[in-house]
């Protein structure tokens, strides 16, 4: 190279001496930043991404085939494992689908209790997503701080159904038992303490210069492209479209409540972060409205926690253990021996990631003929290569975590 060293102390390589090629980097299925198992094979030009190819299926557990083997109540346990950060929403969505097929109408108190639990699950999901965006950009404190409040949400779930994470909560037509006083005390405690925590979490990130420079402009998407890619949920709302299943097709009496739908403009990571934070504020408002409405119910209304559908609602456990007819009904309903009408129904709920849909075809038999889950993560992960084209490698990591990809929902 001696002939190319000029007196400017600047090494200039002759034209065409090095071919410009791209490096292939495997952002493999096990990686600290991929929360869940999915793989990206990136073509990098220096540090810029030229193209990205995604591979999914590393946790494919064959839910749809498994559902053809199980009667309706046994499918609730597998719906838990779809978006496992907010499993009560999946359970309630499945019970709503069954209620639509079977024609069961739930009383108002059941709807309001369901709304409290679903909004708590939504807060839980958004907390994980936002704090993990913080961890990926280097801020571990936010994660540790809000995980304490997720523990309080887990305790509320434990009071209601006994389990923390994969809740298998509720029955077709309501809940298995009335919420105890401890459960209401814990909900009240959450409503009192959590706003200050969320305010502190926002103070850590919202106007933090490092965080803003990392996330503004990372992975933007326009509203038209987002709609074409089938985006739903906070990712679509960050792009500017105010589509929320709770408002468009209200289920479980959501139309009795007043809340806003936060909408972003550019659809980049910063907008997604802010939209999720605002949604947590809206969820808090919905929970306090529902709690107040439940406190105001009087008389017989205040004790009801399930619909009157003995053919589909499992009898009370204390009866199952002591009375013969209750035991027989329990067995028949669990094994799917009660009357299930044939038909096809599509029901969707607003999950933590968007429109979670259940397409159920029943042929009148014990188990569904076909059950398909419309999983929002699976559908919007396709857009990842378009979102990261031309951006830097570290932006790709932030985009992946801000999209809130849950591997269980993606692969089903």
């Amino acid at each position: 190279m001696s002939e190319t060293i000029t007196h400017h102390h600047h090494i200039k390589l002759p034209e065409g001496s090095i071919e410009k090629t791209t490096t292939t980097l495997n952002l493999g299925p096990t990686h600290p930043a991929t929360h869940g198992v999915f793989q990206n094979i990136l073509e990098l030009d220096g540090e810029r991404i030229v193209s990205a190819e995604q591979t999914v299926g590393y946790i494919h557990r064959a839910f749809e085939k498994l559902a053809e083997r199980r009667p309706l109540y046994q499918i609730t346990t597998i719906t838990d494992r779809l978006n496992y950060c907010s499993s009560p929403i999946n359970n309630m969505g499945w019970h709503l689908t069954c209620e639509k097929l079977l024609g069961v109408k739930t009383p108002k108190r059941v709807d309001y209790l369901r709304i409290i639990i679903m909004e708590l699950a939504r807060i839980s999901d958004h907390l994980i997503c936002n704090s993990v965006v913080g961890v990926d950009s280097g801020a571990y404190t936010g994660f540790l701080y809000v995980m304490q409040y997720r523990e309080l949400i887990y305790e509320i779930y434990e009071e209601v159904c006994g389990s923390r994470l994969t809740t298998n909560m509720g029955r077709i037509g309501g809940f298995e038992r009335n919420f105890s006083n401890t459960a209401f005390e814990k909900i009240e405690k959450f409503l009192n303490e959590y706003p200050a925590v969320l305010k502190e979490f926002e103070n850590l990130f919202n106007r933090n210069r490092i965080f803003m420079e990392r996330t503004i402009g990372a992975g933007p998407i326009s509203a038209a492209r987002a709609l074409n890619y089938g985006f739903t949920g906070p990712n679509l709302r960050a792009a500017g479209v105010d589509y929320d299943v709770r408002v468009h097709t209200p289920y479980s009496s959501y139309d009795d409540f007043e809340f806003e739908i936060p909408v972003g403009s550019t659809g980049d990571c910063y907008d997604r972060f802010l939209v999720r934070n605002q949604e947590m504020w809206q969820s808090l408002s919905i929970i306090s409205q529902a709690y107040k409405k439940i406190q105001e119910m009087k008389g017989a209304d205040a004790e009801v926690y399930h619909a009157d559908a003995p053919a589909y609602y499992l009898p009370e456990k204390k009866d199952v253990y002591t009375k013969m007819e209750a035991l027989i009904w329990h067995f028949k309903i669990i094994m799917g021996e009660t009357e299930i009408p044939p038909g096809e129904v599509y029901q969707s709920v607003e999950g933590g990631n968007g429109e979670l849909g259940f397409y159920l075809i029943s042929d009148g038999g014990r188990t569904p003929y076909r059950l398909h889950f419309r999983r929002p993560c699976f559908i919007y992960y396709q857009a990842y290569s378009e979102l990261t084209k031309g951006s830097m490698l570290s932006d790709a990591i932030i985009v992946m975590s801000s999209l809130n990809l849950i591997a269980g929902e993606m692969d089903a």
Partner: protein, 167 residues
């Protein structure tokens, strides 16, 4: 004037005549069927029409009916009109021995992976798809698992005794 199921049905019959058939409304969602060669034409019409505006593909999946001869595989599209808040369901049927359906990826980018999943589970061949290969199962798998004739469990496993598990 809000868009009702009757209006949609009338517009479809006006445009396609006898080719769209089997109109039903299970649980309030208009469901209809068309021959498989027409699937793109129908979806393009539903997309472009200024009154119908079904511009969001909610879901794409397939169902296997082993008993219906020459119509074993049904590909089901769920479309959504976000402005007027109407959903419809559109089915095409195909023979399992020749399961070729035109791809919808030109119209909806979200159909890309949904069609790959349908191919992976049922073997439906989407003609014109940019990258039709298995997505969720291992690449070496040689059968399509969600067809009714295949069992759920892996038959080569040795640690679970089928008799004790009630299979």
């Amino acid at each position: 004037m809000s868009l009702t199921n009757e209006t949609i049905k009338a517009r479809l019959i006006e445009k396609f005549g006898e080719q769209v058939s089997n109109f039903e409304e299970p649980y309030g969602m208009l469901t209809f069927e068309a021959p498989k060669e027409m699937n793109l034409k129908v979806m393009q019409f539903l997309f472009d029409d200024t009154e119908l505006r079904f511009q969001f593909l909610t879901d794409l999946t397939a169902v296997h009916y082993p008993d219906k001869a020459a119509r074993e595989l049904a590909v089901v599209y769920h479309l959504h009109n976000l402005v007027d808040n109407v959903r419809i369901r559109f089915k095409v049927f195909t023979d399992i021995n020749k399961p070729d359906i035109f791809t919808a990826t030109q119209l909806y980018s979200s159909a890309n992976w949904m069609e790959r999943e349908t191919y992976d589970f049922f073997g439906v061949n989407f003609v014109g798809h940019p990258n039709l290969k298995r997505i969720l199962n291992v690449d070496e798998m040689d059968y399509f698992p969600l067809l009714k004739q295949y069992p759920l469990e892996d038959q080569t496993r040795i640690d679970k005794d089928d008799a004790m598990f009630g299979r």
